[in-house]
């Protein structure tokens, strides 16, 4: 295991701690400073973008537990987010406060996830992916057609008492920190070790006393818990939920974040979401500027935005199949030896 110079494992407690090195502390501080800078910049645009990114990271962390830790694939993650979004929207619409509606959204999505996780007891890998594909369509079909409850395609209002976007940003950031810590902690818990064991070798896991039945379903439950909570945050961010925000397309992107960032890695989840959402935002802005200067060319090029994304994912799969998290580890090793092997 790689540890920088000057960091010693003097007890088992230190060896299994999360914030372990000076660099970890520095990263935490940098994150805090970044959030403060954003708040004081007063830029609504940046705060909006950061809030949306953070919500997406929370949801992606959930998929990380299911796919990265437990090795079960799901292509319905956005649909589970939708369950949470609608639950929280409907509850707050009927006067339930946010601090109750968000946990409720998480639990409802978790239970729905449990139901759609049942096929995982029978099938694995690609076949499971196809089964969750069905979940995506069933859930979204119900949401668009149960108009009495969800108001169908026109969207359902999601009122919130938090009107100030800066306050909302702080709320989302606090949730992000909590979910990040939980995700890290799960990995060194009984359940997390069981997930990883199942992912690595399900036969051996079962013969070590791990109930595949129980832990596969638990992984689905937890994953959808995250998705539901993030869905709730998403709904109140726009104060409105629309079914098309949770399409198959966005479900696929959640897998894309993990592939680009690195399966099973918490920092990788951050990298993946930030890179892809940043790229999307950059391209959108770029096109918006270009269209005023070269309207003809830009209109011709516009469809290629999707191509750029496809290319990014393919290039990652080819050149860095273990994701940005792995590039980061390599960079750390490189910097460790540069320019001198022992750097304070």
């Amino acid at each position: 295991m790689y540890l920088p110079c000057g960091t010693f494992n003097e007890s088992y407690r230190l060896d299994s701690a999360i914030v372990r090195t000076k660099a970890h502390v520095a990263w935490c501080l940098a994150g805090l400073v970044f959030c403060l800078l954003l708040l004081f910049s007063g830029s609504t645009y940046l705060i909006h973008f950061a809030t949306l990114t953070a919500i997406t990271i929370i949801s992606a962390l959930g998929l990380q537990v299911l796919t990265g830790y437990a090795g079960q694939f799901s292509i319905a993650h956005a649909a589970f987010m939708a369950v949470g979004a609608y639950t929280s929207a409907i509850l707050t619409y009927h006067g339930v406060p946010l601090y109750l509606s968000l946990p409720a959204a998480a639990v409802v999505a978790g239970v729905v996830g449990l139901i759609f996780g049942l096929p995982s007891l029978r099938i694995k890998g690609f076949y499971l992916l196809m089964a969750t594909f069905a979940a995506q369509f069933i859930i979204m079909y119900i949401i668009t057609h149960w108009q009495g409850l969800t108001k169908g395609e026109f969207g359902h209002p999601a009122p919130t008492a938090i009107q100030d976007e800066r306050a909302y940003f702080i709320l989302v950031m606090v949730c992000l920190v909590a979910f990040t810590i939980a995700t890290k902690n799960i990995l060194r818990s009984k359940a997390g070790r069981a997930f990883v064991a199942i992912n690595n070798n399900d036969l051996a896991a079962e013969l070590m006393g791990i109930s595949l039945y129980r832990y596969k379903l638990l992984a689905f439950f937890i994953s959808c818990l995250y998705a539901g909570f993030a869905g709730g945050l998403y709904a109140h961010f726009y104060r409105m939920v629309m079914p098309e925000a949770f399409s198959l397309h966005s479900s696929m992107w959640f897998l894309g974040y993990l592939l680009v960032g690195g399966l099973g890695s918490v920092p990788g989840t951050y990298f993946g979401v930030i890179l892809i959402m940043g790229l999307n935002e950059g391209l959108t802005n770029g096109f918006a500027v270009l269209i005023n200067i070269y309207p003809e060319v830009t209109r011709f090029l516009a469809p290629f935005r999707q191509v750029v994304f496809g290319l990014v994912v393919i290039l990652f799969l080819i050149y860095e199949p273990r994701g940005l998290a792995n590039s980061w580890e390599k960079l750390k090793k490189y910097l460790h030896l540069w320019p001198y092997p022992y750097w304070p």
């Binding site: 088992y12 902690n185 799960i186 009984k190 990883v196 690595n200 070798n201 051996a204 079962e206 013969l207």
Partner: protein, 262 residues
């Protein structure tokens, strides 16, 4: 541990009765019966394809015999799922190593402690107070195994990239992490050179001295088997052809025929 068994030293820990296992038309095991006594080293030997691994697979619930019963702690193991059998304290290793190859040796052992861990998910996500103490307690237990099997240098190495002999050792460590009350070892020393075999035999004897649990081992190296085991069962074509102390088995006519004939 096996307090119950120790108070009645002659009572078997586990009784296998008339096990018959078929895969389609293939008769893999025919009418196998044997007992596992407290604190003994029981060797199962026999030519290739005799059904030794299949016996262990029946014991750990991976194969379901069509007939017969396996009684352990007043339960019939042939009716329990594998993970419940492990929970009852039956640990095992595999002939074809089945490690969590993406994990470090240490994490393999910690995963092996699954059934001894208590904290539920919510506490696990918080990792504070009780949970942290539990994690540290298990870490200590696992470190004792690492010391016992002399795995300190490979603690953080990825299990999948370790050399064969060390992977076998990690697998033994993982089975021990379960705090087994019966330990089943499938060819722990196959494919090793003499020195590695002697090391492994020493580890197995150390484990036996320390844990005072019955060990069931499948082994091909006759010299070794006769040296370390208390009792030997000989299988041939899915049938038990002999059972007894190493000396009794060595002089058994059927056994000599089976080995010379194969």
């Amino acid at each position: 541990m096996t307090q119950n068994a120790q108070s009645h030293p002659s009572e078997p820990v586990l009784r296998t009765r008339n096990i018959t296992l078929k895969f389609g038309a293939i008769q893999v095991l025919s009418d196998i019966s044997f007992d596992i006594m407290p604190n003994e080293i029981l060797a199962i030997i026999g030519p290739n394809g005799a059904g030794k691994t299949s016996v262990l697979n029946c014991l750990s619930g991976f194969y379901r015999p069509q007939q017969g019963s396996i009684l352990y702690k007043n339960k019939d193991l042939t009716k329990l799922p594998s993970h419940r059998i492990a929970e009852l304290g039956v640990g095992r290793t595999f002939q074809q190593i089945e490690l969590f190859s993406g994990l470090s040796a240490l994490d393999n052992l910690l995963a092996g402690r699954h059934i001894r861990m208590k904290m539920g998910l919510l506490w696990g996500a918080i990792y504070f107070g009780k949970t942290r103490n539990e994690e540290l307690k298990h870490r200590r237990a696992v470190e004792e195994i690492i010391d016992l099997l002399e795995m300190q240098p490979i603690r953080h190495a990825h299990a999948g990239v370790l050399p064969y002999g060390l992977r076998k050792r990690v697998e033994l460590g993982r089975a021990l992490a379960l705090d087994p009350e019966v330990l089943l070892l499938d060819e722990s020393m196959a494919g090793m050179n003499v020195e590695e075999k002697e090391d492994m035999a020493r580890y197995i004897l150390d484990v036996h001295d320390l844990k005072k649990i019955p060990l069931v081992l499948i082994e091909h190296d006759m010299g070794l088997v006769m040296d370390i085991s208390d009792r030997v069962i000989v299988l041939e074509y899915g049938r038990k052809i002999a059972e007894g102390t190493p000396d009794e088995v060595k002089s058994n006519k059927k056994v000599i025929e089976a080995y010379l004939g194969s």
